[in-house]
Homo-oligomer: 477 residues x 2
């Protein structure tokens, strides 16, 4: 007999953690149900999900252009409907028709395992425009979100705990989850919080040397730029050093660049690692991940993404092809939106004015909201928060009072998790404890998005301020 | 230094095979490119992909109802467009509005990791209508196709090669691929070809006993019903025996039921394993997989699917939730179509007449095409093919001449793979060798879909007939 229980399943699955949708989010769901049943049950009227970069769930409107093209691709009969030109601009109809003409079987058919060639060509053209360097369609895999590409890679690179991957701390827990799931070693490098979460290449080197001394095989370096959960955007000189490090050490560079369109800080801009590699003229293997879920548009529900794999051994690329083939292909609507994201309307196109207006409105609002949130957090007693230069997050440090740390010891929860749970119970605001991302031992953080609508973000700050003041009063020594 | 080559990656990835998109399909892609460059290069004018159940790629039209709802959900402004009621029937507008009202953030937002509650309720209602037994929304995971659910399960159940899964031979290679990838043991049970690919429960028992004697932990039994690649539909008595076997042996029943709407043979119908379990009143853990990709509608590019998990340990269900959370959620358009598939228009709805007509046309045509193909194959020298009672495939047996077997020995390919490659080069028809699915040693098969359009299927049969005749003439002893 072999009844399946949590004790006799794969221990790697059991041990894997993913805090972005962990215990606090599950509790938030219960509270939301409770509020529906009895609105007087909690001292707030709604749950505000700041745990995840999910802009449209908080009221952000989709970009019209993407959705118009999707509607025509999914229901091509609309192209023949009378009065169609009043609802769908000319360039929308043209690109939808081009997509349909170049997609055998339309959005209802499985595509090539790496994605429809036409959509990959659009993505390649966008990458080439961005970088000023060519992109080969055969290097592209269109994936259901960026996570899938990470799974393919980690599954391929990792045989057992001897295989190590340099991972930032704090990090987006997709990486720690994949490493746990596939049995590899997370080789941490700590970002320098006080220097705006800077990346110190000397630490990459010392960690690599140390790991190699212990017999580890350092297979890849993961960089998240702009940073998640830190919100930091790397400078170009830093990027060059990193590329040189990967070249010197023979380490695959995995660039998680899903926030490439989310850089807000003055004087900062995004440069892809592939451009840095090509500009330097070095020949190193590099993987870049992108997603429809992030950017200003935040098309999370689409599950679109791509993985660009350059300079890798041909035999390894064939293995990645095989892995993607077992799942047949990514969803076609996601492929279409990923292509449109990389080749959006340009000046002169009928859709351009509305597209530009929608884009500028969202980006300028995100910038204001980032400043509002970070300033609000920095005004709290014992809280310090680095500037959110990019991405969708702030990752403030909280100096938790000794009395609270003592109390947390008996709770079975990490102190920052307990703090986040209390914040949720008092305000309905859902954030993720720093322990879910990793942090310097003895420091405590949480990650919050700055995505609540402009009309709501002040309220979020006020609620956090009130909660934190009461909290500090209760636990001050 | 740690340059990544195919020799130093995870051996499990390297050893995994997935023939449905293997060497023959890659060769087909090259030929297709070659035809574009020079149409005179091959003795045929197009490549016909019979390697995969991908109906819309071969010209099948999508069901209007599904696509109309999708277009409105993706571009809700259409609901306000003038004249909308001429293009979108009343029930389409109503369900689209209901979906939007019950999906926070619409199709652009991440949903609950298991899928939007509203869509899960629709699926649960459809399952309950189908079986006459209730379905709990908490037991449902909406997934990007059915494959993802299989990955979650196998990853959870398998720690190493001591964990075995009873798998039919021949089987859909998703199962062998997952078992190879996660390092488990494929415990084969052979279907009885001469009895219409019947499943012999005595063999399940003897294989289980044998494996247990060797120290294996038999964790699950995979049943594909209707069968892939066999096309066979299980009888109710056989299903009852299987359920009893799982109960007696304490083995998880994994029912791959993605072809539940594709049963063509007179006197045959589909009964879900969950209904069998509930009707018998036994309490066993059971997982059922379904997909938008199959059925008569064949919405493959959607990547919609569900996994229903009943009677499983709560702690194990929490692990499945965690696994799905790391990928955040399945794509929303796929969730919507999965929900619509399970709750299609009903008599009296504005869309019903067109829906019914489209459905009946496809199903009756599939039935005719199945008969045409199977009869055509059975007319070939040395070929025998069981009736295609359901699914989308025929899996004929070919008695390959000794002279050809001898020639294949030196080719580096399995004899049936070499046969399929020759068929491709001569006719442009792409099929998958039996060795990709497993077969009794010394027998040879291939899998072909009967999905080419009605106007083309006769041509496919004629081309196969001509090729096979020439082939036999060349190799007859």
């Amino acid at each position: 007999m072999s009844t399946i229980t949590v004790d006799n399943i794969n221990a790697k699955v059991r041990e894997m953690q993913y805090a972005v949708r962990g215990a606090i989010v599950q509790r938030a769901g219960e509270i939301e149900d409770g509020l529906k049943a009895d609105p007087s049950k909690y001292p707030f009227d709604k749950v505000v999900y700041c745990n995840i970069g999910n802009p449209q769930s908080l009221g952000q409107k989709p970009i019209s252009f993407f959705r118009q093209v999707l509607a025509l691709c999914d229901y091509p009969d609309l192209l023949l409907a009378p009065g169609i030109e009043k609802t769908f601009p000319e360039d929308v109809r043209k690109i939808a028709k081009d997509i349909l003409d170049n997609t055998t079987g339309g959005t209802g058919a499985y595509s090539h395992s790496q994605g429809v060639a036409f959509m990959r060509k659009m993505v390649a053209a966008g990458i080439s425009d961005r970088d000023g360097h060519p992109c080969d369609v055969n290097d592209l895999w269109l994936t259901d979100g960026a996570s899938v590409g990470c799974h393919y890679l980690m599954k391929t690179l990792i045989t057992d705990e001897r295989d190590a991957v340099l991972t930032p701390i704090p990090q987006y827990p997709l990486y720690s989850a994949c490493l746990a799931l596939y049995g590899g070693t997370l080789l941490p490098y700590y970002l320098r919080e006080e220097q705006g979460w800077a990346l110190d290449v000397a630490e990459l080197k010392s960690q690599t040397d140390k790991a190699r001394g212990e017999g580890k095989n350092v297979r890849a370096l993961v960089i998240i730029n702009p940073g998640n959960p830190t919100g930091a955007a790397l400078g170009l000189d830093n990027q060059k050093e990193i590329v040189q490090f990967c070249k010197d050490e023979g380490i695959l560079l995995v660039a998680d660049e899903v926030y490439q369109e989310n850089v807000y800080a003055e004087g900062k801009s995004f440069t892809s690692f592939k451009k840095v590699v090509r500009d330097l003229g070095v020949d190193i293997p590099i993987v870049s991940l992108n997603s429809t879920s992030k950017g200003f548009f935040g098309e999370c529900g689409r599950r679109g993404g791509y993985m660009e794999v350059c300079g890798i051994d041909k035999g390894v690329a064939e293995q990645l092809y095989k892995l993607s083939s077992v799942g047949l292909c990514s969803n076609l609507a996601g492929q279409i939106v990923m292509a449109l994201v990389m080749k959006p309307p340009k000046e002169g196109d009928a859709s351009y004015p509305l597209y530009k207006q929608e884009k500028d409105d969202i980006l300028s609002s995100l910038k204001r909201r980032a400043v509002t949130l970070v300033n609000g957090l920095n005004a709290l007693e014992g809280v310090s928060c680095q500037e959110a230069e990019g991405a969708m997050y702030a990752f403030p440090k909280i100096d938790l009072p000794a009395k609270f740390l003592k109390e947390a010891e008996g709770s079975g929860m990490a102190p920052d998790a307990l703090y986040c749970m209390r914040l949720l119970e008092a305000t309905g605001i859902v954030v993720v404890p720093g322990s879910g991302f990793g942090q310097v031992e003895g420091t405590w953080h949480f990650r919050t998005t700055f995505l609540p609508a402009e009309a709501d973000i002040e309220g979020v700050v006020q609620k956090m301020t009130k909660f934190h003041g009461d909290f500090m009063d209760a636990y001050r020594n």
